[in-house]
Amino acid sequence: MNARQAGEHVLQVDCLRVEVRTDRGPGPVLVDNVSFALRRGEVIGLIGESGAGKSTIGLATLGYTRRGCHISGGTLDFDGRDIRQMTAAERRALRGPGVAYIAQSAAASFNPAMTLFEQVCEIPVRHGMMSVQQARTEAVRLFRELELPNPERFGERYPHQVSGGQLQRAMAAMAMAAKPDILVFDEPTTALDVTTQVEVLAAFRKLIREHRTAAIYITHDLAVVAQIADHIMVLRHGKTVEYGTAGQILQSPREEYTRRLVAERVAGHTFRDDLASAETPILEVSNVVASYHSLLRVIDGVSLDVRRGDTVAVVGESGSGKSTLARVIIGLLPRQSGDIRFRGDSLPPRLAARSRDQLRRIQMIYQMPDVALNPNQTLLEIIGRPVQFYFGRPREQVRARVLELLRMMDLPEHFIGRKPGELSGGQKQRVGIARALAAEPDLIICDEVTSALDQLVGEEILRLLKRLQDELGLAYLFITHDLGTVKRIANKVVVMLKGKLVAGGETAKVFAPPYHPYTELLLSSVPEMRSDWLDEVLSRRAQTLQAMRDAQIQLVP
């Protein structure tokens, strides 16, 4: 299958249509009339928000649809044969050696009970292309090419024994093992930390370029796709919004929707300038230490202040202890030493020892509204509960208050009888905010509140939070890994690394030179729309890492 000349189309998709099949005839259309062609060595980026049909298109090129869906129209021409017309056996032969898939979460897509060697070698061995020994040699070669540590022995490990970034690269090795004609990348860096994302992205690009493999790169992040794609297709609700070269889409988008996507990404680089916060802090965290069971300190000597009207961002990568800090402030995890003062009084370390008033004044909004709301309760119960619990109001007043809160959230009043399952992701997050506000708090801890949402929906939530802050004078402690968000909404920021604060202060100062080396590393890792960003950051990174070594900061424990 590899004896094909450059320039010829490897894959030609025409008028692809994918539908959900229900018991009562045809259901919703997931992909509608999508066409594109892919040449050898060419990368096409599919971009859009969730529900745009990107993954469905990616999977369709492997002749695969998720449960309940089917390809109902169009042709998928691979190597002169229509994938739709293939028999089950031909389709199996296509998957792996012809088209290979790289999934979003490597942690979930590797079998926990098998070694990496077993899984990486499975495609060439099971398709009868190589012996086990040859496949192993090839796997080691790919591990080395992808700069995985100790390539000879790397494959002997189980998935849980390697880091997320390494696992994602191992999945690329798995896909490449049989030298496929097309690689389908389905949001392969979304689950990674920013600093890891840069390395993985660079590894993927090198792989594609050196092997001249055609690729479909699916993502919701325009800046990521800008680094890797030749062509970009913008999708919405299963339809093509705009299709063109990467340069055209990024620099001169024709469609309104594309313009909005591009604009939101660029908007991520302005500082918030209003710094109108009160004098005395409402929350003072001083020198707090906390750990789970072990002696290892998850939070190690952290101090910060939050004033009325403040938005203090806590940034850091996974494992930096930022969510643990929230748990310590809330009292779910008692601190071991240090002090947390709220409105001048020291808060008891344990949740159970705090007064009802102390509990009421600090509320929390969660990352995943899906799991933070009881699916069996109506919005009246969910939002009304804190009103009743903290203020003991009679039933009709509770109802009136819930309606008022729904209006504040821009949610229709008739939602009061609905359950979370009937709402969209953004609407659920609004309910989460309403529930926090129902307690009339002084401080709201926002734990990654937009990271489970689509870009444009997340923007709306941020705007809502800002409006509520202006109206009610709330203070936010904003835990996030998204530095773009921080720049826009936070007037203060603290940067955490392995449980310690490495930098802190006003956002404009922390995020401006002279940087702390780790802050610089984080900032430089946020993808930018320029297509030369990745090359630039890679060359700069060597210097930054050297500076961090000089300052004796280790990224990996």
């Binding site: 926990p112 098998m114 849980h160 024994q161």
Partner: protein, 315 residues
């Protein structure tokens, strides 16, 4: 991981201890006591008191419990009241019979159930899947004595293939024993297979919804390989637990089947002992049953821990 396993073993011992307390308390509150059981009709208040003193029954229950447990740990389970033989001697041949039948049934049922369950998972929703589900549901719903009698009627009386009575003695040779106990074995297999087969099917299908299974399909692997190689190893823990419960049932809960086939097993012995007020024998049987139950469940726990790659291969 070793700590986890040690923890399970410790818990098992603790459970066994608790069970011994319950068994002792249970025989203690049986109506009538040892003395009245021994004397039966010749009991007068004086002779009863005499006998109680002789048997040490006038001492507090706690003291007697400690004494009994101490002896049991040393392997001395006392003497049977009915036959006046050593309880251990009384029990040993019966226990051997029970274990033989349990192992015989397990050796047939476990592999069969797992294979049938895997096949049902591979052809999920198909004719085979539905047929197997229906048949096993049927055999599990029919009371075991009825299954036994139906088998006797057709396979023994009508066709004459297998004997209807499993009257083995300690010197029956192995091959003959296998033939004699074929029908009780088949009855037990039919009773326990549905659990194991359905659990295998259900837990494999649950794993089949995982992203790494989708990945395996996207690697172009045939379905049988995805099920057997990718899904099954990850579905083992719940399957092992159900197998352990069923094995425990095969040892502990087969009195009815023993009765139907007149098989000299431990269950029969215990029922007889209860009706004869043979307290030492009842206690001994109780301890053995509890021990078997706890041992099997503990083994299942340990095996389930061992199937978890995260525990087997720490970071």
């Amino acid at each position: 991981m070793l700590r986890l396993i040690a923890q399970r073993l410790g818990l098992g011992l603790l459970t066994l201890f608790a069970a011994s307390v319950l068994i002792f308390a249970g025989t203690e509150i049986l109506p009538g006591d040892l003395a009245s059981a021994v004397l039966q009709n010749s009991a007068t208040p004086e002779s009863l008191a005499e006998m109680r003193k002789e048997l040490g029954l006038d001492r507090p229950a706690a003291v007697r419990y400690v004494e009994w447990l101490g002896h049991a740990v040393e392997g001395d389970l006392g003497r049977s009241l009915a036959s006046h033989r050593d309880v251990v001697e009384e029990i040993t041949p019966r226990l051997k019979n029970t274990m033989f039948l349990a192992v015989y049934a397990a050796v047939v049922a476990v592999p069969l159930a797992v294979v049938l369950g895997l096949m049902a998972a591979i052809w999920q929703g198909g004719i085979y899947d539905r047929a197997v589900n229906f048949v096993t549901l049927l055999t599990i719903s029919v009371p075991e004595y009825l299954v036994g009698y139906i088998l006797i009627k057709y396979l023994s009386v009508r066709l004459g293939w297998f004997p209807s009575l499993a009257n083995v003695t300690p010197d029956t040779p192995l091959l003959e024993r296998i033939g004699l106990t074929f029908l009780p074995m088949l009855t037990l297999v039919l009773v326990v297979m549905a659990h194991m087969m359905r659990m295998t099917r259900a837990s494999v299908l649950q794993i089949m919804a995982s992203p790494y299974i989708e990945m395996a399909f996207l690697k172009g692997l045939p379905k049988w390989r995805v099920v057997v190689r990718h899904a099954f190893p990850n579905a083992l823990a719940p399957i092992i637990n159900v197998i352990a419960l069923d094995l425990a049932y095969l040892i502990v809960g087969v009195v009815v089947v023993e009765a139907v086939f007149v098989y000299p097993g431990l269950g029969q012995l215990m029922v007889d002992a209860v009706s004869k007020h043979d307290v030492p024998l009842v206690q001994a049987c109780g301890l053995i049953f509890a021990g078997a139950f706890i041992l099997l469940n503990m083994t299942a726990d340990v095996l389930a821990i061992l199937t978890n790659p995260r525990l087997r291969h720490p970071r």
